[in-house]
């Protein structure tokens, strides 16, 4: 629409890289057999030190954590998917040499926020908490309402922070940019 293909491509790439969503993936691609415990184990293992592990070392750690062995094809499937959706970063050191996996920067942040690497229920719960926190002052903040001037004075005096600000060397005056509104009409006074 705006003829800026770079921006468009950039945003579409972000969209693709951020499409890791346990509930959507289960529904669309793998049916109900997809084992998210393996994904979660991979994420939790790589979140703690060492944050970079070779192909086999990572598999052993997952099996130890889950207390069971996993099929190589299952393991590769999970690794591939997590790499495709931008959770894992693959470092290939060349032919015959070690391949190492680590979490991407975004994945580390998401894991620290409990947005990945934990059971689905917990992910959804934390999404709700963050939505509530982030949009609280935008959507739900209710001002403190006082009808008596003395109560308002008391409120201001009780709050050291406000008192310092208000009395800031200017005597008994609210240090303000004062704007007077009469029913949405701004008066220049």
């Amino acid at each position: 629409m705006f003829g800026n293909t770079t921006t468009t491509e950039g945003l579409n790439m972000i969209e693709a890289a951020n499409s890791y969503s346990p509930e959507e993936y289960r529904d669309k691609k793998s049916g109900s057999n997809y084992n998210f415990n393996i994904d979660n184990a991979i994420i939790q293992i790589l979140l703690s030190k060492p944050t970079k592990l070779g192909h086999n070392d990572l598999k052993i750690k997952i099996e130890n954590l889950l207390g069971k062995s996993i099929w190589p094809s299952t393991y590769i499937g999970h690794i591939k998917r997590l790499t495709d959706v931008g959770i894992l970063c693959k470092e290939d050191h060349g032919i015959g040499k070690k391949i190492e996996y680590s979490l991407t920067e975004n994945a580390i942040k998401q894991a620290r926020l409990n947005l990945i690497g934990v059971p689905k229920k917990k992910i959804i719960l934390f999404r709700k908490i963050y939505q509530t926190i982030l949009f609280n002052d935008i959507s739900e903040s209710i001002p403190i309402r006082l009808e008596v001037e003395e109560d308002f004075d008391k409120l201001i005096l009780a709050e050291c922070m406000l008192r310092e600000v208000i009395f800031n060397g200017e005597g008994y005056q609210l240090q303000i940019m004062l704007t007077v509104w009469i029913s949405h009409t701004k008066l220049e006074v």
């Binding site: 629409m1 705006f2 800026n4 921006t7 468009t8 950039g10 945003l11 579409n12 972000i14 969209e15 890289a17 951020n18 920067e105 975004n106 994945a107 942040k109 998401q110 620290r112 926020l113 409990n114 947005l115 959804i124 934390f126 709700k128 908490i129 963050y130 939505q131 509530t132 926190i133 982030l134 949009f135 609280n136 002052d137 935008i138 001002p143 403190i144 309402r145 006082l146 009808e147 001037e149 109560d151 308002f152 004075d153 409120l155 005096l157 709050e159 922070m161 406000l162 600000v165 208000i166 008994y172 609210l174 240090q175 004062l178 007077v180 509104w181 009469i182 029913s183 009409t185 006074v189």
Partner: protein, 302 residues
């Protein structure tokens, strides 16, 4: 404590009163609210307001019949989030600590012994504000859609469930289903578009909604032209065409989401906040729940 205002009281300020009446042809008396807004120094985000409720008289003394004070605080406190009783203490504390560790939020002021946090990145805050405005616009269009025209899709349902929780969402949709069914039944009784518009106006919660319906009717009449509606059938057909006209307009609004945030289109918002969207990619699962359209791939067909 005396509160000294830089502006003299309206009671004594002849200039303001004179200007006020010069701008208006209203008959006296007029009821007005005056807001004195005060931003304490230091850019703390605290807003203090004194709202005076006046009766202005053109020829006699003005009278103030009530006043109140408002104190708006920045950000949020953990106690406020916990007060909603939607989450347990441990989870909220974990979330708050995680956000602080990632420097997404920071302490701002302490008020009544409770620490308040704000979003550290003011551009992110601004972006969230715009997302919320779009979210509210979208939500109001969706409610109209569900109330008057169509049942929610499964995708729309799951989004509301995520926002409100299972129980609240079920109650909400039940009310809307009932409202839609009453609307459809009542629709059969009306003979003209005018009768119908009066009916839906009664459902409006404020003046602006009434105004929107009047504008819709005017626009429809413009599109329809001066066609004479003689028979009852003509009038009934016209009514159905008007209902469809409203529905099409609503679906168009839902697709393009015009809003009050100053953004003509979501694409413009995406462009303006491109860097912020990129910087907070890891946060998209949360923001998507509020405003999915901003995170959808661009529609190149537009």
């Amino acid at each position: 404590m005396d509160l000294t205002y830089q502006t003299r009281s309206l009671r004594n300020n002849r200039k303001i009163t004179k200007e006020y009446w010069a701008e208006r042809e209203d008959e006296s008396p007029v009821l007005e609210n005056i807001e004195f807004i005060c931003y304490p120094k230091g850019n703390l985000g605290v807003v203090l307001k004194r709202i005076e409720y006046w009766q202005f008289n053109r020829y006699s003394k003005n009278t103030k019949y009530h006043q109140e004070y408002l104190c708006e605080l920045p950000g949020f406190s953990i106690e406020e989030i916990l007060a909603s009783k939607r989450f347990n203490d441990d989870d909220v504390n974990f979330a708050s600590n995680a956000l602080q560790a990632l420097k997404l939020i920071e302490p701002s002021i302490e008020f009544r012994g409770k620490k308040r946090f704000i979003i550290s990145d003011r551009i992110l805050h601004e972006f969230l504000l715009n997302l919320w405005i779009i979210h509210e616009a979208e939500f109001s269009y969706q409610v109209k859609k569900w109330k008057y025209f169509d049942a929610p899709t499964s995708q729309e349902k799951s989004r509301i469930i995520n926002l409100l929780g299972e129980q609240e969402a079920a109650r909400f949709f039940k009310q809307l289903d009932r409202a839609r069914s009453i609307h459809n039944e009542d629709l059969r009784k009306f003979r003209t578009t005018e009768e119908y518009t009066e009916y839906i106006k009664k459902e409006c919660s404020d003046f602006w909604e009434v105004l929107v319906i009047d504008l819709e009717l005017d626009r429809y009449k413009e599109v329809r032209g001066n066609k004479k509606l003689v028979t009852d059938k003509d009038k009934k057909d016209d009514l159905h065409k008007f209902v469809n006209f409203r529905k099409e307009g609503l679906y168009k609004n839902l697709k393009y989401l015009p809003d009050n945030s100053g953004y003509g289109s979501i694409e413009k918002l995406k462009m303006d906040y491109k860097d912020t969207i990129e910087k907070y990619t890891f946060f998209q699962p949360i923001l998507k729940g509020i405003c999915p359209k901003v995170f959808e791939a661009n529609d190149d067909s537009e």
